[in-house]
Amino acid sequence: MSAATLPLPRAARRPGVGAVYRWELRKLHAQKRTYIGLAAAVAIPLIFILALAVDNSGGGPEELPFSAFVRETGFAIPLVCLAFGAFWLLPLLTALVAGDIVANEDQNGTLKTILTRSVERWHVFAGKVLAALTYTAVLLAIYVSVGLVVGGLVWGFDPLTTLSGTRIDAGRALFLTALGTLAYLLPLSAIAAIGLLLSTVTCNSAAAVVGTLMVSIFMQIIAAISALDALDPYLLSTQFNAWQGILREPIDWDPIVRSAWVCGGYALPSLAWALTAFLRRDVTGG
């Protein structure tokens, strides 16, 4: 037997977050609900584009950023999609996985299966958080890409008029769209963190998905009440508009900076609470 085939010392081979993360992705890959979310992220921009294409009146969606330019350039399409996706679509699609990723193990009884191996509980939790965030990022990337590519094919990759009224060329528009998408990922990740919390404490997938969506809509209702305007800067729903600062010239970073700490203020305590609950809980199901 050659030295290469000799087993390594036990300590060198202990699995951790990486092993859990890889398998969480494989589990997502094998589950139908993952594809329901991703399919919706493909279908909604397509339906929007189709509706615009068959509408001969020349009108577009009202009161949304970039809605006046949807027939001028394909670059406006993903940006309008981002704007209307914030109301419930993207929070729902995010919650579909984040709200399920812990609770489905409870309902399947598989939590005991993975918690009696050689990984620590926090490894399992961290792997699930990373997998839920990965799904969220992929979901958003698909949503924006479909709008951008198909919108561009229909209306061309022409220069885009920014929110400051300046015109930017295709390269700059592409770059700013990518940057804006990253900014959009902040509040969406905070939604995912709330989904993970509800998934962990309710042990019930449906309750966690619906609960996450309710939290998201609840904040929009507060935002709509003018007597409570003082709360607006601290609501997640407001952070879903922060990306618009990037599509200005010069870029307005203030809303992005505020979004980063407000979203962190929702996400980090949610994850800390969820982790504590996950570490201390009695695993009795199955």
């Binding site: 036990r10 699995p15 589990k27 299966t113 201390r280």
Partner: protein
């Protein structure tokens, strides 16, 4: 140096008013095939969950090879494998994928043991099918395969034959026997006396969360010895002769019965022979585990049930 495979001291678990596990002490030595016997609801599964670190005891401690899962987490399970209640897997993954998943969470070369484990539990030709389509027996076997990937020195099995058909039960018991013969220490929770009698050398009998008996199975059964059944060519005459030797002889529906030690029983046979009475049967009657079990777990008066009914 390695520590005792299982050492539980004063384990307590309460759920509201109900004490599911009430100060349970449990010691399983290396090489034991240890039966954890009790009726459903006696707290067997709850005890196993505490041993595996799945739930926190309200009091007491559990150590596996000297390590407390509450303090050391997954490291306390090194060399330990098993499952509580039915083993659960991901229904949308194949049997092999499920084993690959748990093997990757084991590390330590577990992936290299998958083929051997599948062969051991006779699932190699169904390994590519999704677990969602598996029968209960196949899942049970996959659970054992999953445990074997850890190359365990201690195996905890919770009613592994429950829900299996007779052939499945026989195969499962043969498998446990084989693993024990390879030197694995086994803790087998069960409510089936025959299974425990067949497989185990030590037992703890539990009822209502308490350990009612703990010790070698042989000693438990031997302790009830000393009862004989006798049938002869002339039972009436034989009863008188035997009564002269042992005092008290009981007439039963199909013969006589008396209590005596071995030498006294032999004395009676000689006396019967001298009197010209033929012996057709002299059978030492030990209590079965089942009789002992019911004697211990079912209170002779109805009070506990009555109290529960009032609550």
């Amino acid at each position: 140096m390695m520590g005792t495979p299982i050492e539980a001291r004063g384990l307590v678990k309460r759920y509201g008013e109900i004490t599911a596990v009430d100060h349970v002490d449990l010691t399983v030595q290396a090489g034991d095939v240890y039966g954890y016997l009790g009726p459903n609801g006696a707290g067997k599964t709850t005890s196993l969950r505490m041993l595996l670190g799945l739930i926190r005891p309200d009091d007491g401690s559990a150590r596996l090879f000297g390590r407390d899962p509450l303090l050391e987490g997954a490291r306390a399970l090194d060399g330990v494998a098993g499952f509580v209640e039915a083993p659960r897997f991901y229904p949308y993954l194949s049997g092999r994928s499920n084993l690959e998943l748990v093997a990757d969470l084991d590390g330590d070369g577990a992936r290299g043991r998958i083929d051997e484990a599948l062969d051991t539990v006779d699932l190699a030709d169904r390994a590519k099918d999704k677990v969602g389509g598996y029968s209960h027996g196949m899942r049970q076997r996959l659970g054992i395969a999953g445990a074997l990937l850890r190359a365990p020195r201690l195996l905890l099995l919770d009613e592994p034959t429950t829900g299996l058909d007779p052939a499945g039960m026989r195969d499962m018991r043969l498998l446990i026997r084989r693993l024990a013969d390879q030197g694995m220490t086994v803790l087998l929770s069960s409510h089936l006396m025959a299974e425990v009698e067949e497989l185990c050398d030590r037992v703890a009998i539990v009822g209502n969360g308490r350990v009612l008996y703990e010790g070698a199975l042989g000693e438990l059964i031997a302790g009830t010895a000393g009862r004989y059944e006798l049938r002869t060519t002339d039972d009436a005459e034989a009863a008188e002769i035997a009564a002269r030797v042992v005092g008290d002889v009981e007439q039963t529906s199909d013969g006589l019965a008396f209590s005596a030690d071995e030498s006294t029983a032999a004395e009676i046979t000689l006396a019967l022979g001298a009197a010209g009475i033929g012996i057709t049967a002299l059978v030492p009657r030990t209590a079965t585990l089942e009789e002992l079990f019911f004697r211990m777990t079912e209170p002779s008066n109805g009070r506990p049930q009555l109290e529960r009914a009032v609550v």
